[in-house]
């Protein structure tokens, strides 16, 4: 056990050093003299990096507005939550908190005033974060400019506005405890597992959410529809969805840090994760995450054979879809769906196109989308929206075509499904 701890400490030490060399915060003069404050600056830089890994900014900053001032609305099936101010303002932010209180919040889901946090704050994942990393994040958060902005009250419906109900939720879905390294796994695998299960809080979307707003541990990473956003977060454990078992490590790392790869691109909510968080992570950390993701054992989410009715639907829609594909899609995605890589993603043998849920391919045709502009892919190519130019029938036809052509194993898509998704929220 202590040996593993030493190993993690060394890993962290190396990473801090790498950040340091990248010139994140310090000058060479400070390195040479070990002047007072050097240690703090080092910790703050590491905290900033870890806050990126935890993607704090995505919820706690309104786009284009003041850093960590909170106030970003988050629609849930139970009402709207407003993220709190986590800038170091003493009255309205976390300026009076101690590192102990911050760790207790991350670790247990209790605020310093004793109130229970709603699980929109991913404390079920952050509980795995080490004390040292929590302290670094706290040091960073207290180093940014304070913003005086009072927290906006949550707008939760009865009975969900009664926070004591959260005690029941916690009993069912919350397991407190720091990350424990997997025995017999490499340091790289454990680093990836730590980031993905902890700060990365990937299971918040990639595990199905049930009617109580909880994600079941036994279904971890098996995929699910993200409530209120109408995007499907694919299974990370099924090779017919976003399971990465048959991807190369290079394709996984490219997808995570640039937003595009030769197997497909990120879009929807995952584009935000790459834009705000993953593009800033070190090559070593991204690789560690890729190694861990690739190792997840495949289970769940396997495709079911199409029913007789689905076959009829397909026979009707496929020829129309083929015609639309040739006219509207083939220029970029190729006559055989091979794409132009990595700019125009392949559609043939692309899990995202043929997986059981057809929500994402329908939405991409309706709404289009750009992968995120990242430091390694600053000028991404975009998919045009077709909501304004194709009818429900035409969209159903072309999505049916791409899900079943070229050996793809998807099921046909109905006109009704397309119509339902026309009103899906776009933000």
């Amino acid at each position: 056990m202590s040996g593993v701890r030493v190993h993690i400490f060394q890993t962290i030490g190396r990473r801090a050093f790498a950040l340091f060399c990248a010139g994140a915060a310090l000058s060479m003069g400070a390195l040479a003299s070990h002047a007072a404050g050097t240690h703090d600056a080092n910790v703050v830089a590491r905290g900033e990096y870890l806050a990126r890994a935890g993607d704090c900014i995505a919820c706690h900053t309104v786009p284009g507005d003041k850093l960590f001032a909170g106030g970003r609305p988050m629609a849930t099936p139970f009402g709207t939550l407003y993220s709190p101010n986590i800038s170091p303002d003493k009255e309205t932010g976390i300026g009076k908190w101690t590192a102990d209180q911050f760790y207790a919040m991350m670790h247990t889901g209790y605020s310093p005033d004793g109130s229970l946090l709603y699980p929109a704050m991913p404390f079920a994942a952050y509980t795995k974060v080490t004390r040292e990393d929590s302290d670094a994040i706290f040091a960073y958060l207290t180093s940014v400019p304070p913003v005086r902005l009072a927290n906006r009250a949550h707008d939760m419906r009865f009975p969900y506005n009664n926070r004591s109900l959260l005690l029941g939720w916690r009993t069912l879905y919350f397991r407190e405890g720091e990350f424990t390294p997997g025995a017999g796994q490499s340091a790289e695998w454990n680093r990836g597992a730590y980031l993905i299960q902890g700060l990365g809080h990937c299971s918040m979307c990639h595990t199905a959410i049930n009617a109580l707003g909880g994600s079941s541990e036994s279904k971890a990473f098996e995929g699910g529809l993200i409530p209120m956003q109408a995007w499907y977060a694919p299974s990370l454990t099924s090779n017919t969805e976003a399971g990465l078992g048959d991807w190369s490590i290079e394709d996984i790392t490219n997808l995570l840090r640039t937003g595009v790869s030769r197997r497909g691109a990120v879009y929807g909510p995952m584009a935000e994760v790459v834009y705000d968080s993953l593009q800033y992570l070190s090559d070593d950390d991204i690789r560690a995450m890729a190694v861990y993701l690739k190792s997840l054992p495949p289970h769940g989410g396997e495709a079911s054979p199409p029913s007789a009715m689905a076959s009829e639907e397909k026979d009707r829609l496929y020829p129309l879809g083929s015609k639309i594909y040739d006219a509207q899609c083939a220029t970029c995605h190729g006559a055989k769906g091979l794409g132009k890589l990595p700019e125009f993603p392949p559609l043939a043998d692309n899990q995202s196109i043929q997986m059981t849920s057809s929500v994402n391919p329908i939405r991409m045709v309706l709404n289009g989308g750009y992968p995120p502009g990242t430091s390694r892919n600053p000028r991404p190519y975009g998919m045009p929206p077709f909501a304004q130019s194709l009818s429900d029938e035409e969209v159903a036809a072309v999505v049916t075509f791409i899900r079943t052509a070229w050996g793809n194993h998807g099921t046909p898509v109905s006109v009704r499904e397309v119509n339902d998704l026309r009103s899906a929220p776009l933000n």
Partner: protein
């Protein structure tokens, strides 16, 4: 001489290796802005000429600074139109500027102006407001900022021609009701607040009835001395 030749060979070998690495695994997308903005073309036309849809405006030839301000406002949600807010959400400033510059440099021809269905009196009122304003209600002429040819001014004041009446009145309405905002001082909000509904109809009808100007380019920065301070012009 011999040295120079060796360097050349080495360079060619490196370039060939690079080209091979690039070509590995097939065709790439064209490395052009035109290919990158295909997502915009679906509604705004490949050259940003606009389409038949009243609410998908012409972008071509508007100053890059104006287009950039709009792209940033859509990305950050200050200007609200969900399909645009969604498309731009994760694009960095530098890229948005390149997209703006691409459409600013395009000069596709105008489509024929709309035959207006409003009365001659309304059109006349529109012409007065656009060219002379309404001093009694402290409404400056559109031309006093957007230029006498109404083609806009560098770097950030848009041209007003080649747009559909419904688009123009929707924008003026959005400013009046505060759903479209610009950086403070928000001069367009001040102007729009002084307009009546019938003023908006008249301005939109007359502007959309105008033929294409001889020179589509916005006038250079500082050509027009503006009667109001505008935050979007700062920089």
């Amino acid at each position: 001489m011999r040295y120079r030749f060796k360097w050349l060979v080495a360079l060619l070998v490196i370039m060939a290796g690079h080209a091979l690495a690039q070509d590995q695994g097939g065709e790439h997308a064209p490395d052009t802005m035109q290919a990158r903005v295909l997502a915009c073309a679906a509604c705004h036309g490949q050259q940003g000429q606009g389409t038949d849809n009243d609410y998908f405006p012409r972008l071509a030839g508007k100053p890059a600074g104006y287009l950039y301000n709009q792209l940033v406002a859509f990305r950050d949600g200050r200007r609200k139109y969900p399909p645009m807010n969604y498309l731009l959400a994760y694009l960095p400033d530098a890229y948005l500027y390149q997209i703006a510059a691409y459409f600013a440099d395009e000069r596709p021809p105008f489509s024929a102006p709309t035959i207006s269905s409003v009365s001659g009196n309304v059109l006349a009122r529109g012409q007065v407001l656009v060219t002379r304003g309404d001093p009694d209600h402290r409404v400056p002429a559109c031309a006093s900022c957007h230029g006498s040819a109404l083609t806009g001014m560098e770097p950030a004041i848009p041209g007003l021609l080649g747009l559909h009446a419904d688009y123009i009145s929707a924008q003026l309405g959005a400013w009046r009701y505060g759903t479209r905002t610009a950086t403070a001082p928000d001069c367009m909000r001040q102007v729009a607040a002084r307009l009546t509904e019938s003023d908006v109809t008249a301005i939109a009808a007359w502007l959309s009835s105008r033929p294409a100007p001889a020179d589509l380019a916005p006038v250079p920065r500082g050509t027009v001395k503006m009667p109001l301070a505008c935050g979007s012009e700062a920089k």
